[in-house]
């Protein structure tokens, strides 16, 4: 017995899907609305200085978010990025203190990030450990290594030629903002347009189907963790350069901030969705909320609450939208 399906229903759900598909557009609207409100409430909000301060505050996590977005589109997940940021920043700083020239010292730090990603990727793709457990364990392992090698002491007194990487500016725009924008733009184009990165949407959408379509699922999974590890290491170096010191508490909670940004930006934990620009807008939205609370003189302790509520609201909107689509 065959059943005919009603085409009208599909058309209707398509209309609904269109709205939710413009996730970036929606966040942008929220950001613009918040900005208009804030520019009225506080004359300081739309000043060049405040805008740059906001962008600078998201620059480190934006670089990590590029990798995390690719990872989460493919259905992966990395809790260890915060520790990677801190460890690689410290490794680079220690190498410089030990007399290694700036550039080779940075390469060593980047190599550490790549190795961390490789181990994550192998454990997940080849051994078959769940990504959450793998990277949760790795998060703790890396923080432990960091504490052991630094003996929990911050490392300062770094060469000026290194610090300029994080502290310099071009026409008044701090370098970290420029790095972040470059990574975001390149990352977004690649994830949208390049066939190689596009494979992640297949893997996240239907793993089995991806394999049947000739996609090397394990290989790409490993690549994604390596990419994320590499970007986290790079972010760690930039952060260290900007602060002029490697801190053992650097990057604490960064993983949750980045994952929240990626999810607010339209990705889901099950994969198949998300864009780099969306993730950036998610991060920016959280930064603007924090900034707004400060400018409005709200008790800073509300900050975490508001950010958590934003995340829950964004996901609830998704789930309700998703349910509607399923029923229609």
């Amino acid at each position: 017995m065959r059943t005919a399906t009603v085409n009208g229903e599909a058309a209707r759900s398509r209309g609904l899907a269109r709205i939710t598909d413009f996730r970036e557009f929606m966040i942008l609207m929220v950001i613009i609305a918040a900005s208009i409100f804030m520019s009225i409430a506080s004359p300081y909000f739309l000043t060049r200085m405040n805008i740059l301060a906001n962008l600078l505050s998201v620059s480190i996590e934006s670089i990590v978010a590029v990798g995390m977005t690719v990872l989460m589109v493919s259905g992966g997940f990395d809790m260890s990025v915060g520790s990677t940021v801190a460890l690689c920043g410290a490794v680079g700083a220690m190498a410089m203190k030990a007399g290694v020239p700036v550039f080779p010292a940075m390469l060593i730090a980047l190599a550490v990030g790549i190795v961390v990603g490789l181990i994550n990727g192998l454990l997940i793709a080849k051994v078959g450990i769940n990504p959450f457990i793998t990277t949760l364990g790795m998060m703790s392992v890396l923080r432990g290594i960091l504490l052991v090698i630094t003996q929990a002491r911050n490392i300062s007194g770094l060469p000026a030629s290194f610090k300029i990487i994080g502290q310099g500016n071009f026409l008044g725009v701090q370098y970290p903002i420029i790095y972040a924008l470059v990574f975001l733009i390149v990352g977004d184009i690649l994830l949208r347009k390049s066939r190689f990165f596009r494979q992640n949407y297949y893997i996240g959408g239907n793993r089995q189907a991806a394999r049947l379509s000739g996609i090397n699922v394990d290989g790409i999974t490993i690549f994604n963790y390596v990419l994320t590890g590499f970007l986290a290491a790079l972010a760690g170096l930039i952060m260290t350069a900007r602060l002029g010191a490697a801190s053992v508490t650097a990057g604490t909670g960064l993983e949750l901030k980045v994952i929240s940004a990626v999810i607010i930006g339209g990705a889901s934990l099950s994969g198949g969705e998300g864009t780099v620009i969306g993730s950036f807008l998610g991060a920016l939205l959280m930064a603007i909320i924090t900034n707004a609370l400060t400018l409005l003189g709200v008790d800073v302790y509300w900050n975490e609450f508001v950010i958590g509520a934003t995340l829950l609201l964004a996901v609830a909107v998704d789930v309700i939208g998703g349910k509607r689509r399923k029923k229609a």
Partner: protein, 503 residues
């Protein structure tokens, strides 16, 4: 016809075993250039397993696969595709989050420099290929927003677009409308002219007579024979498939039916069903027929409290029940066998023994409220014996049992609660003939003890063979009632589809 006798694909002596099952036991198949070769057999005959072997998904334990006379070995789906074999699987293998275009050309999107996808060309190519099925959808439409039938078409187009030498279709029409199925046949005939060969698996024998040139029959993982379609009749095919004459596997009722003791009045739930009233007598098997989506399953689940009624009454032995959850239903003595045993019925990774006690753990608790292991084992052994469950051990994971034995485990779970009313949803879906007739025997046996059974089924011969009375649902309402004697396949279908004023 461009058919000639050149063999494009040949398999010989393929053996494939799974834990506890010999799915393929030395099968063979010869595929000529430009022919449509049907493969038929009961569930569990090994058709799908062979297709998975040919598609590079399963590795055979032994045997030979030859493509154009050369021996080959497939280590992955990609390998099979490289040798020109494309498979359209029964379970959809699409990425729902991506567009029609990206699914059809998955990982084969046209690219420009630096591997950047040329979206304009991608959409253009897709529009071109969609014309084959007169499919008027935007290539950018996400697959999850398409009706299932069109998703199936996308799946077929995806396989066709790889320009294979051999295209394997596994139940391709199962979710197509008749118009879409016609277009599929038209395309098959066209591609045949171009020398493409087809392996066509179907349960619908009429389709085989419509489209196939030759037909090969499998039974219990073995090769039975190959015939030219024009030289064989439907009866002969069925006999080859079943291997014996099927003398009444449904059995006969040799007990009498009691009084009405269970009824549902004015039941409604959302858009799924409304105004549904029915009554059930002791020892009666009540068939619930209708198309998929007619509200039968939703009704069964509502009576069981899985998605409770929004309106209406459920009355058992004179008492109105408040069924707000499955727990309430189980306590009142209503059992429900889900249609989807793997996703909703069984605990696949748990032992058979732990499965069959799941709905009534309470029974096995001792005074200290601890589980009584030996009582559980005794019960599981009894289940294995009574239900003839073929498993090496009661500690075997249910995942490793065959479909028929899984279904018997599910039955043992629900008969174990000693239900007063048992609702069974597609009780024999995906099980072989042998297990089917056993399940029928078990259902009759349960009914003979005075339990009323509501049987939801899309398998019409089963509904007609087993039911004492049949209710037909259409668009969420009960539209017809037949006694077991007066019902015929034609009447029930006419009523279920609403084509005639049959009811």
């Amino acid at each position: 016809m461009s058919m000639n006798n050149r063999i494009v694909l040949e398999v010989r002596d393929i053996v494939k075993t799974f834990p506890g099952v010999r799915a393929l036991d030395g099968v063979q198949l010869q595929l000529r250039a430009g022919e449509v070769h049907a493969v038929v057999g009961e569930n569990g005959a090994g058709k799908s397993t062979l297709m998975h072997v040919l598609g590079g998904i399963y590795k055979p334990d032994s045997g030979t696969i030859m493509v154009e006379g050369k021996r080959v070995q497939f280590d992955s789906a990609y390998d099979a595709a490289r040798h020109g074999i494309a498979v359209v699987f029964q379970e959809l293998s699409l990425a729902p989050n991506l567009s029609v275009a990206e699914n059809i050309f998955a990982n084969r999107q046209p690219v420009r420099i630096l591997g950047m996808i040329d979206y304009n060309k991608l959409y253009e190519d897709t529009r071109e290929i969609l014309k084959l099925f007169d499919l008027d959808v935007d290539p950018k439409t996400l697959v999850k927003n398409l009706p299932v039938g069109q998703q199936q078409v996308v799946e077929i187009l995806k396989a066709m677009s790889t320009k294979p030498k051999v295209l394997i279709l596994d139940e391709p029409t199962s979710s197509l409308t008749s118009v879409e199925a016609e277009l599929l046949f038209k395309n098959i005939r066209r591609l045949k002219q171009e020398g493409i060969s087809f392996i066509y698996i179907s349960h619908h024998l009429q389709e085989i007579f419509e489209i196939a040139d030759r037909v090969t029959v499998f039974r219990d993982g073995r090769y039975v024979g190959t015939r030219d379609v024009k030289d064989v009749t439907e009866e002969q095919l069925v006999q080859m498939m079943v291997g014996r004459e099927l003398v009444d596997m449904y059995g006969h009722r040799d007990y009498s039916i009691g009084e009405v003791y269970f009824s549902v009045k004015g039941a409604r739930r959302g858009k799924a069903f409304a105004d549904v009233s029915l009554s059930l007598r002791r020892g009666e098997i009540l068939g619930l027929a209708g198309l998929v989506g007619s509200g039968r399953t939703e009704l069964g689940r509502a009576i069981f409290g899985a998605e409770p009624l929004e309106q209406g009454e459920i009355i058992l032995e004179g008492k109105t029940l408040a069924v707000a959850s499955p727990k309430d239903a189980i306590e009142a003595g209503i059992g429900y066998l889900t249609e989807d045993r793997k996703a909703q019925g069984l605990f696949l990774d748990m032992a058979m023994r732990d499965n069959c006690i799941a709905p009534h753990l309470e029974t096995f608790a001792n005074q200290l409220r601890m589980m009584d292991e030996s009582a559980i084992n005794d019960f599981a052994m009894k289940c294995r014996r009574d239900f003839n469950i073929v498993t090496p051990s009661i500690k075997q994971q249910v995942r490793n049992l065959s479909g028929g034995n899984q279904q018997k485990v599910l039955l043992s779970m629900w008969m174990g609660i000693k239900p007063k009313v048992l609702i069974v949803d597609e009780p024999t879906r995906g099980v072989d003939v042998g297990a089917k007739s056993e399940i029928y025997r078990l259902l009759r046996q349960l009914a003979s003890t005075g339990v009323g059974i509501i049987m939801i089924s899309s398998d019409l011969p089963e509904v007609l063979g087993l039911s004492d009375r049949i209710l037909v649902m259409r668009e969420g309402r009960i539209v017809g009632e037949f006694s077991g004697e007066e019902a015929t396949e034609e009447k029930v279908i006419a009523c279920a589809t609403g084509v005639a004023m049959a009811c």
